[in-house]
Subunit: 334 residues, 2 copies
């Protein structure tokens, strides 16, 4: 048996922190986040933000979606392609071409991977990388492993089921999971290999049958229950951090897999533009920050998600799956 890199068992003896015995109602997860010190919020680099402008809604509502791109060590080949596609304005004039209920919204070239659309695929820039499937997961370096050990020490025991023998087995899809640099990840436990997971709002790279891994010219986001069977089968490249409702509330397609049929061309939402935020003028550049997943506030927040003590609740669950602990992200006012 291989030596475990993440000695969960050794952490299990840690008792949960004692609750303060005051009279006030326990704070909700949102209240805990609202009290986080400024130092626990981490700025998202403008290079890691995509601004996707959709055509206005039929009632005139402007529709802007902001996506945070995945940081290293994950999926950087595809992330680079996506920056290239945005910088060559390749996405402009494409559309949302698939909306499958409780699954995904997909956009990009409507003729890619969709015979019903009946047109030719749009040529992509010649310099896109062909990323191999072994980059669906990434080997972690020592600093990353140290961060994940910190997560296990501060937070994991609070969100695990109360049975102390179960901590790292509470994920049906992986030996273990954690939060790392603001992202939910899953991992093995006998070698330092991890991968991002398909939670609500995560953004991935559409592809055909393997060994195709997709270029980044077609992207999707999760609009239903976490389809974690896709983990390590498709590249995850980011997550929607604002404007998710402009995608999740789109009309579902009636074709196979939720693609809009040729007769539903009017349902396709046009994509006006996709830009890397760092390329925008200062006045148009949005700023976002996420709650550090290595800090004390995140640990308290995750604990409160798993053990709801605020007044509405009767039975705290005593655990939560990783996709039911969304990482707080907020827009920074101008």
């Amino acid at each position: 048996m291989t030596k475990s890199l993440f000695p969960f068992a050794a952490l299990l003896a840690l008792a949960a922190p004692a609750q303060a015995q005051d009279e006030a109602a326990p704070p909700s997860p949102g209240e805990i986040v609202a009290q986080a010190p400024a130092a626990e919020w981490t700025t998202i680099a403008p290079e890691d933000l995509l601004v996707m402008t959709l055509a206005s809604a039929p009632d005139g509502t402007a529709r802007e979606v902001v996506i945070q791109l995945m940081p290293a060590p994950f999926s950087q080949g595809w992330v680079g392609n996506i920056r290239t596609l945005a910088r060559t304005e390749w996405y402009d004039g494409t559309a949302v071409n698939r909306v499958q209920d409780n699954y995904v919204v997909q956009w990009g070239d409507p003729n890619y991977d969709n015979p019903e659309a009946g047109g030719e695929a749009k040529a992509v820039p010649a310099n896109l990388a062909a990323v191999p499937e072994n980059e669906y997961s990434a080997r972690l370096d020592e600093p990353a492993i140290a961060k994940i050990r910190t997560y296990f020490e501060t937070t994991a025991s609070r969100v695990a089921p109360s049975d102390p023998t179960t901590l790292y087995r509470a994920d049906p899809y992986a030996r273990a999971h954690a939060f790392f640099d603001g992202w939910p990840i899953a991992m093995t436990d006998d070698e330092p290999v991890a991968w991002p997971v398909h939670c609500y709002g995560m953004v991935g790279v559409g592809r055909g049958y393997s060994p195709d891994t997709g270029s980044g010219a077609e992207l999707y986001t999760v609009i239903g229950h976490a389809p974690r069977h896709l983990d390590r089968n498709i590249a995850l490249v980011g997550r929607v951090v604002e404007g998710m409702e402009h995608l999740s509330s789109l009309p579902r397609g009636s074709g196979a897999l939720g693609f809009y049929t040729a007769g539903e061309a009017d349902k396709r939402t046009p994509i006006v533009s996709v830009r890397v935020a760092s390329d925008l003028p200062d006045s148009e550049r949005p700023a976002f920050e996420y709650l550090s997943t290595e800090g004390e506030t995140f640990a308290r927040y995750a604990d409160a998600r798993a053990n709801r003590r605020d007044p509405f609740f009767i039975y705290p669950a005593g655990g939560a799956d990783i996709c039911n602990i969304p990482v707080p992200v907020r827009r920074v006012a101008d």
Copy 2:
């Protein structure tokens, strides 16, 4: 330590069934369901189906939502109230009043539990039951326990993580979970107590702060990642079996918790009528059936959801959470 009623450990030695070594691509979960023998489909009683007709969409699309009510032993007090409310035509003329992204769509009286709506709550029939919170879960009788044992024998070991010590610990919210009479449930393992779980499309009873448990006059359905922290905190009374897209694609509300604000009154979708299917004339009565969760096909389907072998996939997950194995339900042609 109490004796376990569900001896999972004894089942863990069961090997997964050997795969047929033929050349054909392994079937997808959907293909397995399509091949189910007729005997494995179970008719849903018309008394257990609600037909909710919404006002037509702005583009003229008719919008009908069909809900299957929860069978005994779960939530029958609220289910009885809902039949009473439907039969007194109480829901008619109410509206969808809350759409919170990645959470719930809620309908009924828009003035219940929503001060922003600014109106008086609609009086409910005097004969509704006040159901206590201890009915959020139910004690199982011997026949039910026998069915759940069958599930563990035929199916559970196929959807659990590959580590044979983890079978009944792969649910972060409960000691165990199973499928029972076509429904996903969770349970303790030292006494025969179980409860339905908050998967996508499940329907529950809105309520205020406890000890209020709600009457059934306000209902919601899950439109995002399973909010299983609500299990045993709110009554689950059914699930949407057709027309889910008419609810999940509604515009999100901008008020607290996704309620439509007073200024968004035009976004509230009117409910034209809610009827129990058994009260409809034959010509209007829809018929549905579900795939028996105690049959061989469901076991194969659940296995295939947890271990995707169809050609798109590279890494079968080796497990699935209970809400990622939706029970197949289909309309029966007239």
